[in-house]
């Protein structure tokens, strides 16, 4: 802060006979006014899809609040105790203190079960909202320069959130926790060479041991939440620094942000949204049972229950485990468990690596190194959209595989049939989804072009004096036309000519050739928006044939009524 500002603030507060103003009081001591003046007027654009990340943020706040409540009673200890609490069906059983204290929270602490269930539901919502937020960012291209780092931070948040969720799922030391941890142990064991060492290091000896729950507790309430808070702060600071992306439209450019200021509009909207998220979570926690640990009973390695599944965000990993064929290799007296290693370790690494490097790969293929603050419509990036949908499809197949024990009896299907469907579907369906989505996007592009050139279909059929019938096409309004034409004309990268005018051979490194080919794949099929000349020509042509202006004669373009129907041309083609 500069000296002049400091002087001014001291002078303001020092005037005699003036009532002490609390804002001034605060500002004199913190100097927040200058910062707030700028940040409170910060503009955010209005679109529902920009609020998905907010659901994650508010869920995280709810997780912190309910988590603190739970930590007041939860005892992360494997000490064996005899349960003497309120739940009669387990009274007198010996169990770990962790499980007993979770029962106490559920049955003997006022509001404890509500808090536990809210904590669990909001964990599910936290990761779900991070995921849909990430999909929004992906499909609109909001990860492009300058936001690549924020994409990576977001990916880190998602991964940490999943680990944090799994840690929480494992803490109560109920039957399901134990089964989940046993699988986690198996996954660690499957890592070649170091697997056994890692397991012994993590569990402090043989599974399950007495050390793991206290260790996991520290990770769950201190380590990961701390990193999450730091990363969320970084994520939002970068958001403020980059300014929010926006949908293209009249008046919205790559150099401005059109929307409403933080204070008061977004303060109210975001604050209100917090209460909605809290309300929905509280309703779910109060009305919908989640993780009924009293039915699972304390963990006992000799027991297992049907419908032992992970929470949904680990479902894709579990699905991979369920459909993987039982492949093993034994070499030099060591067993390589491909059946666990491939679906758990390799698959997880693959997914997160692909997500992490995607922005850089796309940037290299398209050769686009400029900054982007305007969002893409998914149809205008057919290949990216198709990749995204293919990824979602693979994820969905793994989800189905993880739910096979519920889906089977529910729909009278054989579990083996579901397994084989998923085994084949995991490889076939994403390819199909890619092709279909890409085609779909191209068709939508073609449709946009049609609408620009020939207007939209009014649904009004006219009969000419000769008796011919035709449908009137009316021009779309200028705003829609602007929105449909505002994206850039994209063309694949071209290799420089092999020989220049003087016959000198230009070098064409293999990397560049691969890149040109990929770029052709990326943009080669795009249906470009019409050029200005094409538009001129089309309108001229339409005027000649009375197509576009044909409506004028029946008086619809003036926003009048046709046959008594309310038919407002200005409103209808609102694209």
């Amino acid at each position: 802060m500069s000296t002049t500002t400091s002087k001014a603030s001291v002078g303001r507060g020092g005037q005699k006979g003036q009532k002490p103003n609390p804002v001034a009081w605060l500002d004199e001591r913190t100097g927040l006014a200058a910062l707030s003046k700028k940040q409170l007027r910060k503009v955010f654009p209005d679109h529902w899809s920009f609020m998905l990340g907010e659901i994650a943020l508010w869920s995280f706040v709810i997780l912190l609040l309910t988590g603190v409540f739970l930590s007041l009673w939860f005892k992360p200890s494997m000490t064996e105790v005899e349960y003497l609490g309120s739940y009669a069906n387990l009274r007198g059983l010996h169990m770990s203190e962790a499980y007993a204290s979770t029962l106490e929270i559920s049955f003997d602490v006022r509001g404890g079960l509500l808090m536990r269930q809210m904590h669990h539901w909001s964990a599910n919502l936290f990761i779900a909202s991070m995921m849909i937020h990430m999909l929004r960012v992906f499909f609109t291209g909001a990860f492009r320069k300058p936001r690549e780092i924020n994409w990576l931070i977001g990916l880190g948040l998602l991964q940490l959130g999943i680990i944090e969720g799994f840690a929480g799922y494992s803490l109560p030391d109920d039957l399901l926790s134990g089964i989940g941890l046993r699988i986690a142990e198996g996954i660690m064991l499957s890592i070649p060479v170091v697997g056994t060492y890692i397991t012994f290091f993590v569990f402090g000896g043989e599974f399950p041991g007495d050390d793991f729950i206290p260790r996991l507790y520290t990770v769950h309430v201190l380590l990961i939440p701390g990193i999450l808070v730091a990363l969320i702060s970084a994520h939002m600071l970068l958001l403020v620094y980059h300014k929010h992306t926006q949908w293209p439209g009249p008046g919205r450019t790559n150099n401005n942000v059109v929307g409403y200021p933080l204070m008061p509009v977004y303060m109210a909207k975001a604050g209100g949204f917090f209460f909605i998220v809290f309300g929905v979570t509280a309703l779910m926690g109060g009305l919908m049972q989640i993780n009924p640990i009293w039915l699972y009973g304390p963990y006992n390695p000799s027991q297992v229950t049907a419908d032992s599944q992970p929470d949904w965000y680990m479902g894709w990993l579990d699905g991979g485990l369920r459909i993987m064929p039982a492949w093993e290799t034994t070499a030099f007296g060591f067993t390589l468990s491909w059946n666990v290693f491939v679906p758990a370790v390799v698959l997880m690494g693959l997914l997160f690596t692909v997500l992490a490097v995607y922005p850089f790969i796309e940037r290299w293929i398209t050769g686009d190194t400029r900054e982007h603050h305007l969002l893409d419509r998914p149809r205008n990036q057919p290949t990216r959209t198709a990749f995204g949908v293919a990824g979602m499809t693979a994820f969905g197949v793994l989800w189905i595989a993880a739910g096979n024990d519920v889906i089977g009896p529910m729909f009278n299907l054989s579990i083996y049939a579901i397994t084989w469907f998923c085994r084949i579907g995991l490889f076939v369906l994403p390819v199909l989804a890619f092709i279909i989505t890409r085609r779909w996007c191209l068709s939508l592009q073609r449709h946009d072009r049609e609408v620009l050139l020939h207007g939209y279909e009014t649904g009004v059929i006219v009969r000419s004096p000769e008796g011919a019938y035709s449908e009137i096409h009316a021009p779309i309004n200028p705003v829609s036309a602007y929105n449909l034409t505002t994206h850039e004309r994209r063309s694949p990268l071209e290799l420089p000519p092999r020989e220049d005018a003087n016959g000198v051979r230009a070098p064409q490194p293999g990397k560049e050739r691969v890149r040109a080919r990929l770029s052709r794949f990326w943009y080669g099929d795009d249906v470009d928006k019409p050029t200005a000349e094409e538009l001129e020509e089309a309108h001229h042509h339409a005027a000649e044939h009375g197509q576009l202006d044909g409506g004028r004669h029946v008086g619809i373009e003036t926003g009048g009524h046709v046959g008594g129907d309310d038919f407002d041309l200005e409103q209808a083609p609102n694209r």
Partner: protein
């Protein structure tokens, strides 16, 4: 004697004498009546009646003499029923599983085709073919006055022996090849007992050596306690485990929150005016 003689002409005296006489005759009849012979005759009748029902309703699959029918591939069209015992018949027919509507990987329960008397006739007929588990007496499965210790013990037995297929809350689960473990919640205690005793369809037999009658009683007491206890924490969403919970998190949670986001974004300061 003065008490009686002075009232011998009382209007109700004659009635009393007749009543005493009737009681004396009835008591001596029941004491000397040929009870054993009568019972045997009843059983024979029951078996004959059971056989008649069997021939009409069951023989097409299980064979005319319950010897079973083997298909050309060597599978059982209907398995032999000699030695399955009355308990198996009471379970299969009493829960409506038998007679089956068609041969299938698993025969589901449905509205029973036979009444109680017909079921006991069928059971008597099958029991007469060879020794097998009898229908348990009510004292074995009556859990109305089960103690807390019995329920807790039954819970551990349930989680060790039953939950792997029938799920932690008794809502059933999947088995390979399209088979399934049916829900055990809301099933009559007698049928749960008989199922453990006879191992119907996919279920293994939990004989009295594996699970003693006392164990079986406690397991039933635990299942019964699940039916009577409150759904702590709200609707159990079908007790399908985390996959079910995840579905509701997406449908109810994310669904309503996205709708709220749409609503918030479309309303507020000058909403609608700036829409392009």
């Amino acid at each position: 004697m003065k008490f009686l003689s002075s009232r011998r002409r009382h209007p109700l005296a004659g009635l009393l004498v007749v009543l005493l006489g009737l009681i004396a005759v009835g008591a001596s009849y029941s004491a000397f009546r040929p009870a054993v012979a009568d019972d045997t005759r009843d059983d024979t009748e029951l078996i004959a009646e059971g056989r008649e029902l069997y021939v009409v309703g069951c023989a097409s699959c299980h064979g005319l003499n319950a010897e079973g029918i083997v298909t050309k591939r060597g599978d059982n069209y209907g398995p032999p029923l000699i030695g399955v015992g009355a308990a198996a018949v009471d379970f299969q027919v009493g829960t409506g599983r038998m007679p089956a509507q068609r041969p299938d990987t698993q025969i589901p329960d449905k509205h029973p085709a036979y009444g109680d008397e017909e079921v006991s006739a069928l059971a008597a007929y099958i029991a007469s073919l060879g020794p097998g588990p009898a229908i348990p007496a009510e004292e074995y499965y009556d859990v109305t006055d089960a103690t807390e210790e019995e329920i807790v013990r039954g819970g551990q037995l349930y989680l060790t022996n039953c939950a792997a297929c029938h799920n932690y809350a008794g809502s059933g689960g999947a088995l390979p090849e399209g088979r399934y473990a049916p829900p055990v919640r809301g099933v009559e205690p007698r049928y749960i007992y008989e199922a453990m005793l006879t191992g119907p369809q996919q279920m293994p037999v939990f004989s009295d050596e594996v699970l003693t009658p006392e164990d079986k009683h406690d397991v039933i007491a635990y299942i019964d306690s699940l039916d009577t206890q409150a759904n702590y924490g709200g609707s159990n969403l079908g007790s399908l485990g985390p996959v079910g919970e995840g579905m509701w998190a997406w449908l109810v949670g994310i669904g309503s929150l996205v709708l709220a986001a749409v609503w918030i974004a479309n309303n507020g300061a000058r909403a609608g005016k700036s829409k392009s």
